[in-house]
């Protein structure tokens, strides 16, 4: 962690130096103040981010650890929900992909076993990503005819 800290600090310094140089170049431009503010914000962010990591790892107290852990847990608890919300269902993927080339077939037109074979065929023919093809296949097999 210390090595990383040193490395990051070196990078920060280089970046800050670079920003400073750029700022000097921008001094005479009409947007100099905006550039200064932006560079200051970037520099502050660069400085603050690694510092937080270092402080959290080296000087954390038990109580802080619990708070940090709780925050992490909370983030992790929220993150999958967002992903789940975004992830498309087999039915939605079915509508997205199948209509590209032909009218939708009714799931009951074939049996589960036939859908399984058909989706392998369509995965190749339409270049459907494997996970999406599997989700569509699962949906069709669940809704399949007898």
């Amino acid at each position: 962690m210390k090595r990383e800290q040193q490395g990051l600090n070196t990078t920060e310094l280089k970046l800050l130096a670079s920003k400073k140089q750029n700022m000097n170049q921008l001094t005479s431009s009409p947007n100099a103040w905006l550039a200064r503010l932006g560079a200051a914000a970037v520099a502050a962010a660069l400085y603050a981010t690694p510092s937080c990591f270092v402080q959290a790892s080296d000087t954390e107290k038990p109580a802080d650890t619990k708070v940090a852990q709780a925050k992490t847990d909370k983030k992790e608890a929220v993150k999958p929900k967002k992903e789940e919300k975004k992830k498309l269902t087999g039915a939605e993927l079915y509508s997205i992909h199948c209509n590209r080339c032909h009218p939708e077939r009714y799931p009951t037109e074939w049996t589960a076993a036939q859908w399984k074979t058909l989706m392998l065929h369509m995965r190749v023919r339409a270049n459907v990503p494997a996970d999406q093809a599997k989700a569509i296949s699962k949906y069709l097999q669940e809704e399949a005819g007898n």
């Binding site: 992903e83 975004k86 992830k87 498309l88 939605e92 993927l93 509508s95 997205i96 992909h97 209509n99 590209r100 080339c101 032909h102 009218p103 939708e104 077939r105 009714y106 049996t111 589960a112 076993a113 036939q114 399984k116 074979t117 058909l118 392998l120 065929h121 995965r123 190749v124 023919r125 339409a126 270049n127 459907v128 990503p129 494997a130 996970d131 999406q132 097999q141 007898n146």
Partner: protein, 465 residues
Amino acid sequence: MKRRSIFYGLLAASVLGAAVPQNAFAIVSDEDFNAVKTMLQQLSEKVKKLEQDHDRDQQLHKEDQQKIEQLQQDLGQTQQIATNAVAKAEAAAMSPAAQAMAGPGATHQFQLVGDAETIFGRIPGQHSGFAFADFAPIFLYRANENILFEAGFDFTLANNAPAAAGTSYGFDLSFATLDYFLNDYVTVVAGNMILPLGTYNERGAGWLNKIPDNPMPRGLLPGNGVGLQLRGAVPLNPGGASLTYSIYGVNGPSSFDGTGNSGSLDLGGNVGILSGATSLPRQYGYGLPGTTFSSVGNLHSDPSAGGRIGLFYPFKPHYDVELGISGQAGEWNDLGQLWSAVVADAAVHIGPAIELKGEYINTWVDTSDLGNIRPNGWWVQGGFKLSGLSLELPIINNIELVGRYDQANDGLVPATNSERYTAGFVYYFSNTLLFEGDYEWLHSTGPNAGVFPSNELLFQISYGF
């Protein structure tokens, strides 16, 4: 003492006199007595009637109770029957025969899909007639989770008019490949494959294409090739976007006669036979009339390489964009001369009702007689389903209006250029039974303009299965 007795006697008499009501002493008349009597009789009758009603209600209640008990018994029997049926169904589902029917657990599965079409044509200078019939089955065999064998055939019957009388029968192996799903991102395809030059080739089956014939510039490209292909897709986001790729090596186009002359190019010649076969023009096959396809030799020893990379980006169901770029290059004759092609394709869906797609095709052919020629062309096709108007009319809602513009230039010197406008419709009897009608206005210029058909009226019934 006597006085006291008298006093108490008077007191008692006065108390009694005050306690006894006055009417106790009144005389009841006959009228009053009769009225009371009548009232009592009426009350008695009412009570009697109420008792009778009560008895009847009790009887009805008893009957209702009996009916309820009967219904409860029937319900119990029905529930028992249903329970038995469920148990039997579950038992049947667990049986090996049922598992074979349901199939998910089965390793092998054989399936037949495909399509069939027939075309009715009206061409100036010819009699109207059914010009073409096609039965195109696709055999699918799933060996296991990772292996699929698929083969498509074309059984065709076409009128020979105007070149000759009668009809010609055709049998063609459209493709036959072994697909091995190496992992989620790579599928190995080996055999006689449909080439992913653009997207039309892989999505141009009779019931998929909304116009009976193919865009003319498709005739500048080979339809299939024997070789090996790697293909797959990488998902880009949870919304369904993906990056698709195909890379392949095939025998590639060849020369009919071993020369490098421009007229000797054989786009379909990908089998290693040197001589002795014949070629037939494809009237409703791939592209340009007069283009020949055959099984005549692969008159060179170096295969062609090609591939396609595409981006598919859906915004939501029925709203998506697909862009792709593909190409192929390789020797086509023993002189080492090159044939190469680049295809740019695009497709857009704007809701369930609107579709736009097209391709730009450019090829380069090194020839002995004309140097490097550049046959090229492009096409764009649009469709609008009238259901998008939300008119709630059953017949209207089943119609899709279609239009296409396609153009092809043979690249010869001097060049023949053809352009065609097509307007028509698709009537969906169902999701797989389609009736198409189109009128095509074709205009050609150049020395080979005569080989192109003039304006045509085409109808096609197609069925996908």
